[in-house]
Amino acid sequence: MLAFSEKSIVKLNVNGENVTVMINPSYTLLHVLREELGLTGTKPGCENGDCGACTVLVDGWPIKSCLMLAAEAIGHQIVTVEGLKNAPIQKSFVENWGFQCGYCTSGFLMVCHALKNIHPDANDFVIEQWLQSNLCRCTGYGEIKNAVKAVLENRI
């Protein structure tokens, strides 16, 4: 088990690159991504695990980065919205009007992207189970549904 109390230098793997950062043991992954690495596409919405705006992929699974300590991310592959690089879901969100203010968007993109990889055959029930982790206050979710379905059905 890792144990440290002062600021320490750790290695993380973010968006396919190894980075070295100095962290406090109490820093969340969200904090480190934004404040130390400048990856501000990942958003704080509640810092309490309720909104999903901070979702990133950890070894391919959507994880709320406000609930994970940066120290726990050592040895895992982190992907943020900045690491998506022309994923079909991004285009699909644009073409289906899947956002307005865009603040929740990174989080939704990460969940949808992982869903497509992990459950390419997801039915409506599975989609719902996955996407209920996130909140959007601007859209009525209809467009997000269209966007994720277009990707699952390989229409993008």
Partner: protein
Amino acid sequence: MGYIIGKNIVRKEAFNKVTGTAKYTDDFITTGIYHAELLISPYAHAKIINIDIFEAVSSTGVKTIITGSDINVLCGPLLDDMPPLAKEKVRYHGEPVAMVVADCEQNAKAAVAKINVQYQPLQVVNSVLNALKENTVIIHENLQQYKKNVPDVYPEANSNICSHVKIRKGDQQKGWQDSEIIVESSFTLPQSDHAAMETRTAQCEILPNGRVIISSSTQAPFSVKEQINKTFQVPIGVIDVNVFFVGGGFGGKVPVQLEILAYIASKAVDGHAVKIVNNREKDMITSPGKIGLEANMKIGAKKNGKIMAAEMHFNVDCGGYAEIGPRIAKAIAVDCAGPYNIENISCDVLCVYTNHPVATSFRGFGHTSQAFCIERMLDKLAAALNIDPLEIRMINALVEGNYSPTQVKITLSNTGNFGECLNKLKTLINWDEGQRIEENNNLVRAKGIGCFIKTSDSPTNAISGVLLTFNSDGSINLNCGVVEIGPGMKTTAAQILAEKMKMDIGRIHVKMEVDTQTSPVHWKTVASMTTYMVGRAVLSAAEDLIRQLLNAAATVFKCAPEDLEVADEKVFLKTDLQTYLTLKDIVHGYQYQNGNSVVGQIMGRGSFIMNQLTFLDKETGLGKAGPYWTVGAQAVEIEFDTQQHTYRILKAATVVDAGKVLNPKTVKGVLMGGMCMGLGLGTSESFIYDTEGIVQNTSFRTYKMMRYGENPDYLIDFVETPQIDAPYGSRGLAEHGIIGIPAALANAISVAAHVDIINLPITPEQIWRLKAGVQV
């Protein structure tokens, strides 16, 4: 017409928003910036006996600690009743009491925990009803001494009433005499939260040369300037407010609160840059939310359904401070009759202080609450007379030649065609199949209707402006003071310009950020007025450009400007389309072959000011509050389980008279978002207080909003009755999706469960209590 109007235009910043590169206020990571953290009141009403900061001051990293006694100002948009940090007493749960400025967030938080405040709890005014009782506790002892920032706010001495708006239209006595049936009811609607996904945040730095640089997640950067100027006597010209993308506003980012605190904090540390960021809890209770409302309504009608008279009492719960509450009271009064023609109206709207969190503008600006009451009344009247609910709305529908409650004449242009909205709704929701249909397994499918009418209640002199410059390739830069909070207004502005210039919208570059030093003033990005106001300014700026382009080309061609025309980035000779100048060759001056140059840089200016608006008469409400109305009809279809008292929402429908739909997918998106939020208000959203006025649900775990999959199928249709003075006939349309939805849901459930819904939100428990006759 129709070059680009009516087409689905992807918002300009779309790809930045799906790559995480679109920057919001708190995304600019600055090393060395100080953090301000608030200590908030754990009481709803209490005297502050003592604030002990001794231990906190010497806490690691602390630069300074500020409390109410350090600041001698009061602020507020209408009435100066609010100290930035509580002074002597606290008036709501969550009110800022002290502010720590430290080198980082962690240290600021640690220091806040070391401040010791001694309170003496006072009796809590926990409802409007209590606030209005005789000999009740007075929340603002010095109400009459507060400075008014506008003439039309009317605080009442020795009371908790911070304003009173009256409507007196027609002849009450005659109205009631002519009535053959009278329906009465009261309603109670709770306070709730905007819950924009981005919490509110502000930063301030005061430069050695005196400039005050603020960045903020505000919908109203120019109000920030004004309030800082007014509150601290800083010359308005040195205040610069920068706004980037805003992560949802819904009215909640109009109040100027964190900006004032950031200014105070920066001032206290010699102008060093300081940022203040709401965590979710503070965003919900410390910063303003949505009003609560209590209403008593009485409607008189003929047996044929025609409404003859209405008497309405609305009491707005604005919380501990007035904020924009008196304006919401006015808005409720102005549209109190809904989209119906009522000749004889007596309406009183009080804006009432309570010890609840402060309320401010919220999507719909009071209309959602007002519509809930009038729309429930219409259904009750229909039931009492055994008339179809859609039919009774048709019978009373506002038409051209009627008069609004404030006695403005209704025209097709200034209001649209409400009857046609009802007609289309009837088809859209398949009304004719029946309002209540019993199905298998104790299930009932039912529909309810809720309609809306809304004008804005802007200042009578609200302005907007646009500046256009050219790039050397002939493309245009568009600069306006509108904030991009989500609905895509910047793209709409570009679309209107592209239509007018007859050019490709891809060649119009919109300045997304607002910088109040260089962007022309735009009143506020609120009230569904943006397209109208900035759209008019865009058109006037484009006309300015075109006039200059024609003159320039006329010089070159040695012809009259009238012989020329602008399109496709060219100036043509009308009689010979092969003879033209491309814009890029003239916009920065035209150069003859010998090197001589003429004309110079072409720039466009456009401006708009509201016209013909008036203050309302204090006694009768007579006057014109807004430039036009938008009307529409909505419905909700549910499936109700008669055993469990649970329900599912199957469909939500909206038909609105848009005048002209500029960008269909964008407009539909905004309407669907509104419907979804309206269903949130209908099903689950409300602040829950304990007996001492303490809000119990200050996180998204306990404050429930609609999530993916809980949303219904959305049905949307439009009527297009042009508004003559609006850009391409397009009526303002943004907030409206929310307005009639809670009412429509309540009407559907009332019919499905045979209950009388008079409160929100509608939980299965509430339905069960009503059915079983069990009191809370």
